[in-house]
């Protein structure tokens, strides 16, 4: 084992050596610097590994051979090893990143950098409070030096402000130390702990001053204007160092000194932290400068970590796990982000769209964003989960809420930024180059994020059951991203089919999951098969698709709440990337993510309440929540309803789905939305109908479903774009399902589940055909199509069957749903919601007719005279679905009987009676088989009759029609499609007033205005920043004492 003292001595020595080398040997100096940093990393890594793997006990290092209090002592324990390791790795990679900058500035800069690294290490390791102060000063000076490395007005003024701020902070720290020494007689931290000066009267002031200094070092709101300028002004590489390495060190210092302060200081610190977290994330909302935005985010994240420190009494033995995962996530993500920002050299976040030219950078950027926000498979996911669970366990719901709200704010600007990066059309973009030394550090951190994500998962009990094989498969697909699409498609298809073979037996006996598995995974197969239409590489498509399907599969497999949440978030990531692939889908992908994020936080809140009530994370915990049950169930339903796009939460869907291409549209609409249904089913199964609150929740849910159905269907009728029409229709259809589930009766659930299955079938057909046609014709607008029946007869038949099914016309299977609804509504007594649902079912005719008429009937346009039928790779999935529809139509009992049997376990009364193929309830009866036969025979007979009567019909062309004595002029002017239901619009158009969108816009405006208003405290003036700091101290003092 190399002694830890070398961590200090090596950089010191090399720094002097570099100084000796002089300016002529910059390369050698640089080499030395890197070697020094590597050695330091090696030492700390060695210690860290030995702590982790064996029972290595902490080692004290005494300088000058004396024991404290007569000398300074350093400690190398697990914590120190860990912190020095991450600091050293960050500085090593940072040095690689900054190599050219440092070299340009000469050997002195390298010495400063080494000094910076060393100071941070000592800050972590030292057990002497004065020594801590000294090295804090060294670190500050070194940092200031590094900041002004980049010559320019901004960096210079930033360095100056930094010096002012740290000067004030240091003096306060020094005063605190003096006080502490006065009361305890020792400068050693262990000695101070023993002295327990907090109980002394003046000791509290000492502790206050010391803590406040360290907290100020961590840039709390609002005394952090200087820090923002620093982040903005400094080179990105330096920013990365400050955000990743310095902050880690300072945090550890705070943690160390906590021991002196004692329990009573925890809440104060926590409050300071949470204010910082929420405020800086709120202010980040209006920020457009990328580095400053990162600064806000950094400060916010550190605020969160301070909060976690402050809340450590509530977190129990999970504290370390939470703190470490969150810290690591922040550390990796911020370093990556700062480093990337140094590569693209784009100040304004709108200019980040030039990142798109390099897929690797986009991948890293995405990794960092999702890492920061606590999405799986990253460590922060587990950290945040445990944090929320533990807080809930201790009953700290207010803290939970605050943290989730803060995180949500952070999500808002990060995803806006990410959306700009992915999609914003921005012409004049600065050129940039990717140098190898600049790309390696973020790449290493990116990979580390994934590995650590897996590793941290192993620490969480509930996550032990997670299945990482699909994720590995996805990683493999990501590696072969450069191959053409059909190869990846084939591989993915094989993978999914194999996975189905593995996973399907697991659901044996669980019909619900079988149905959903058939929808999710069967849908995956069909979607991937349809994906063969695409030419080229389709970069990244398969990764995100598979991520979404992996999430869906995991959702079904999940045994506990964590797994559900994991799967949910994974699916969200995948679907986000899928939805934002559309041409103009930037705002829609963004709003999707916002609702998903909000939904996730609602979910996790609900899960936490379930966890607390039940004591463990099993799925049974959803039943019988005892703590705030109304809130818990409502939140969970709300969370799941963001995916079903129910009324109020639906505004993301039309745009996002309307822009998606054919197979993505299919996945997003026919499959993804069902995940929400599955979630609602889980929640409702848990909730039951017995409890007093259940009635109200179900009542509300029923109305939400009914209104979604109405709004969705009416809005669909007024759309001009076929894809938006289908998207709105999905909202309506999901409304039926939600309503059916809210009925909480045998028939209602039967209708709901049955709808879920059939909606997948007929909507699948519609999405694939209409999407395929829109892709082929290059426009989604129906008034630009028309007359395609002659060119695409197979598509027409498919759409015809699908719309007959959707509208519920006998003899096809859609009628079963309507029939069940009638019976369920009447037997359940929910007449008025039911009427709304049935009314919207009839309104569906409007858009269905419009869809099939405007696209396939009417006038064929000039430019479409040569279009061909859809490709086989689309037609085959379509016809597979059609065959399924026809089979179920002929024998609806095939699917209804098992559902009924399954539901008997939950709703024993009110089941269907089966007499052969005839289903009956107490109210009515219906025999799908006979209806099919009767209609079929009758139709055939009448067809024969018509054929005999009318055998000599003359086939004419499209303009051979009566046009009031004139001839039609052009197909475009003869096709009646635009604003088709104008009369209806006049009568019921008020339903289409964008009230909900308006509401959310209003909310968002309020948030942004608030952010903008309070952001003005950051005047950019160094003096006022100094005043902020002092005022901060005084105010905190007044509040605390």
């Amino acid at each position: 084992m190399v002694a830890p003292i070398y961590i200090i001595t090596i950089p010191l020595g090399i720094a002097f050596l570099i100084g000796v080398l002089g300016k002529s040997n910059k390369n050698i100096g640089g080499m030395f610097m890197l070697i020094a940093l590597a050695c330091m990393s090696f030492v700390s890594a060695q210690w860290f590994i030995s702590f982790m793997t064996s029972t290595q006990s902490p080692v004290y290092i005494y300088t000058a051979g004396f024991k404290p209090p007569f000398s300074i002592n350093l400690l190398m324990g697990l914590n120190e090893a860990f912190f020095t390791l991450i600091i050293n790795i960050a500085t090593l990679l940072g040095a690689i990143y900054l190599y050219n900058n440092l070299k340009k500035q000469g050997t002195n800069a390298m010495s400063v950098f080494l000094g910076f690294a060393m100071a941070l290490n000592v800050m972590v390791m030292t057990r002497d409070i004065f020594n801590l102060y000294v090295f804090l000063e060294i670190a500050s000076v070194a940092t200031a030096g590094l900041i002004i490395l980049e010559q320019g007005l901004k960096s210079t003024s930033a360095g100056f402000k930094y010096m002012i701020a740290t000067g004030i902070i240091s003096s306060i720290l020094l005063i605190g130390i003096i006080f502490a020494y006065n009361y305890s007689g020792t400068l050693n931290i262990d000695g101070l702990i023993e002295a327990n000066i907090g109980i002394l009267k003046g000791g509290a002031i000492a502790i206050f001053l010391i803590l406040i200094a360290i907290v100020l070092e961590l840039k709390p709101f609002p005394a952090n204007g200087w820090a923002l300028d620093v982040y903005q002004g400094a080179d990105s590489g330096i920013g990365a160092m400050i955000s990743a390495a310095s902050a880690s060190a300072s945090l550890y210092v705070l943690y160390k000194l906590f021991a002196i302060a004692g329990e009573s200081w925890y809440p104060v610190i926590a409050v300071l932290g949470i204010i910082t977290f929420i405020a800086s994330n709120l202010f980040g909302l209006k920020q457009t400068n990328s580095k400053r935005l990162l600064g806000y985010s950094s400060i916010g994240q550190i605020g969160l970590l301070i909060t976690v420190l402050g809340l450590s009494p509530y977190l129990g033995d999970k504290f370390e796990f939470i703190a470490v995962t969150l810290l690591i996530s922040h550390y990796l993500a911020k370093a990556i982000l700062f480093w990337i920002s140094g590569i693209v050299k784009a100040e304004n976040i709108k200019n980040w769209s030039n990142l798109r030219k390099k897929p690797l950078l986009v991948a890293l950027f995405g990794t960092a964003v999702f890492l920061l926000l606590g999405f799986p498979p990253f460590p922060s996911f587990f950290g945040k989960w445990e944090l929320v669970m533990q807080l809930a366990n201790s009953g700290q719901f207010a803290w939970m809420t605050a943290i989730l709200v803060g995180s949500f704010f952070e999500g808002i600007y990060l995803f806006r930024w990410f959306g700009y990066t992915l999609k914003l059309d921005n012409k004049e973009l600065p050129e940039y180059k990717m140098k190898l030394n600049k790309i390696i550090p973020p790449a290493i951190f990116g990979v580390a994020a994934y590995i650590l994500g897996y590793y941290s998962g192993t620490f969480v009990d509930a996550a032990k059951g997670l299945d990482y094989i699909p994720l590995l498969f996805i990683a493999f697909i990501a590696l072969i991203n450069f191959l053409p699409a059909w190869v990846k498609n084939s591989i993915s298809l094989t993978g999914v089919i194999l996975y189905i073979a593995v996973i399907f037996p697991e659901f044996d006996g669980d019909l619900l999951r079988q149905i959903f598995a058939a929808i999710f995974l069967g849908g995956a197969v069909l979607a991937l098969f349809a994906g063969f239409y695409s030419k080229g590489k389709r970069s990244g498509f398969h990764v995100v698709t598979l991520a979404m399907f992996a999430g869906l599969a995991m959702l079904l497999k999940a045994d506990n709440l964590l797994e559900i949440f994991y799967a949910w978030e994974l699916m969200t990531i995948g679907s986000y990337f899928l939805l934002i692939r559309g041409k103009k889908s930037m705002p829609h992908g963004y709003s999707y993510m916002m609702f998903s994020l909000g939904g996730s936080y609602a979910l996790i809140f609900g899960f936490a309440l379930a966890f607390v009530s039940f004591g463990n994370l099993d799925l049974q915990s959803l039943s019988g929540i005892t703590i705030y049950p109304t809130l818990a169930y409502s939140l969970m339903l709300l969370g799941f309803m963001t995916k079903t796009a129910s009324f109020g939460l639906h505004i993301w869907l039309p745009g996002a789905h309307g822009e998606a291409v054919v197979d993505i549209h299919f996945m997003a609409s026919a499959i993804l939305l069902k995940a929400g249904v599955f979630g609602i089913i889980l929640v409702l199964l848990g909730m039951g109908t017995e409890a007093s609150y259940a009635k109200y929740i179900l009542y509300t849910l029923g109305w939400i479903g009914a209104i979604s159905a109405l709004i969705g269907n009416i809005a669909a009728s007024f759309q001009e774009s076929a894809k938006r029409l289908l998207a709105w229709s999905s909202i309506g259809q999901l409304g039926y399902i939600v309503f059916g589930l809210a009925l909480m009766s045998h028939l209602g659930w039967m209708a709901g589940i049955f709808y879920t299955a059939t909606h997948f079938l007929y909507k699948g057909v519609l999405f694939l055909t209409i999407g395929g046609i829109a892709l082929k014709l290059g426009t989604p607008y129906m008034y630009r199509m028309g007359g395609l029946i002659k060119k695409m007869p197979f598509s027409f038949i498919a759409v015809l069957i699908a719309i007959i099914t959707l509208s519920g016309i006998p003899p096809l299977v859609g009628f079963a749903g309507k029939w069940l609804f009638y019976n369920a509504i009447i037997s359940q007594g929910l007449y008025f919601q039911g009427i709304v649902v049935l009314f919207s079912g009839i309104v569906a005719f409007l858009y269905l007719f419009r869809l099939i008429y405007s696209v396939f009937l009417g006038q064929l346009k000039d430019e479409h005279r040569n279009v061909k039928e859809l490709p086989l790779c689309l037609l085959i999935p379509i016809y597979i679905l059609i065959i399924a529809i026809m089979i179920i139509s002929a024998r609806p009992d095939f699917i209804l009987k098992p559902i009924g049997n399954y539901l008997l376990a939950y709703f024993p009364s009110g089941a269907l009676n089966w007499n052969g193929t005839m289903a009956s309830t107490g109210l009515g009866y219906w025999d799908g088989y006979w209806v099919m036969i009767i209609v079929g025979v009758m139709f055939t007979l009448l067809f024969g009759w018509l054929l005999i009567l009318n055998s000599k019909s003359k086939k004419v062309k499209q303009f051979n029609m009566v046009y009031a004595g004139e001839k039609p002029f052009r197909p475009e002017t003869t096709h009646m499609s635009y604003n088709m239901f104008s009369g209806y619009n006049k009568a019921l158009g008020f339903f289409m007033m964008p009230g909900v969108t308006g509401f959310w816009n209003w909310m968002s405006d309020i948030l942004h205005d608030t952010a903008n208003y309070f952001r003005r405290i950051y005047s950019g003036n160094g003096q006022s920043y100094a005043i902020h700091i002092i005022a901060y101290i005084i105010i905190i003092y007044l509040i605390v004492f």
Binding site: F796, N823, F845, I852, Y853, N960, G983
Partner: protein
Amino acid sequence: MDNIAIKLLFTLLGLFIVLNWGLIQAGIMNKIVARVGKRIGMPVYQPYFNLIKLYSKRTSITHGVMFYLGPLFRLSGGVGMFLFMPLIFGSEYWSNFSFAGDVVLILYFQFFGMLGMALGAGEGGHPYSAIGVSRGLSQWTTIELPLTLAIISIAIQYHSLSFTDIVAAQQGGITHWTMWTNPLATAAGMLAFLGTMGHSPFDLVKAPNEIPIGPPTEYHSTFLGVLRTNAAILHVVESVLFMNLFFGGATSWFELILKTFLIYFWSVFVGVVFPRFRIEQSVSWFLKVPLILGILAIIFI
């Protein structure tokens, strides 16, 4: 299977009777309307002439497969409704194939013909067809609303959606009819009936002068003959539907003919008296009075 064969024969006979009654009824109604206008009017047997003439046209043209099939769908819709509708209460053979489904089936099977017709008319490529269909569908959505409410009200009242049960519960004199026991539902239903019949004031769909004949503007010859055949059947079957729901059903053919005549006459009567609504007016109208009546019917059941 013998049972089915006999049933089939009876059904065909029933269809024949209904078709002829529908044609004669149309003739009688024409006559009545003419007399209201102090005219002599067309002979009662005029619909037969029309039908024979249409079927015996020497030429016809078609715009495509769906255009060809449109009238067929329409006729299937009408005949299908007939098949699923029990005609005479208490008679096994005159109850057609109503064992296959209840009121809801009929309610939704109406759309079979409408949709087919709309599609066929759509392939005609004529913008007036599409305008007519868009108006028709718009109006239908709101017509269905009071009708649905009325049916639900009846279903709550009789605890059944089956025609047989509903009619059975109304036997035993006029005081047992829904008309008497549930006047609100009957009112809502009969106002909806005005819409389903497409007579004035709800005949904007076929507005003969501005959008010639509406959806079937391109239909002619045999196609139109098929549509006329269907209209004859459908008018009777719709009346039978309302008869079964509100007016105690029928125990004999005579009763059926009398009741359907009176029910159909109601729509003709209103049509003669009132002028035409614009589409947004009729949509709003159905969302006012009939809807409120329907809601009251459910509240006060």
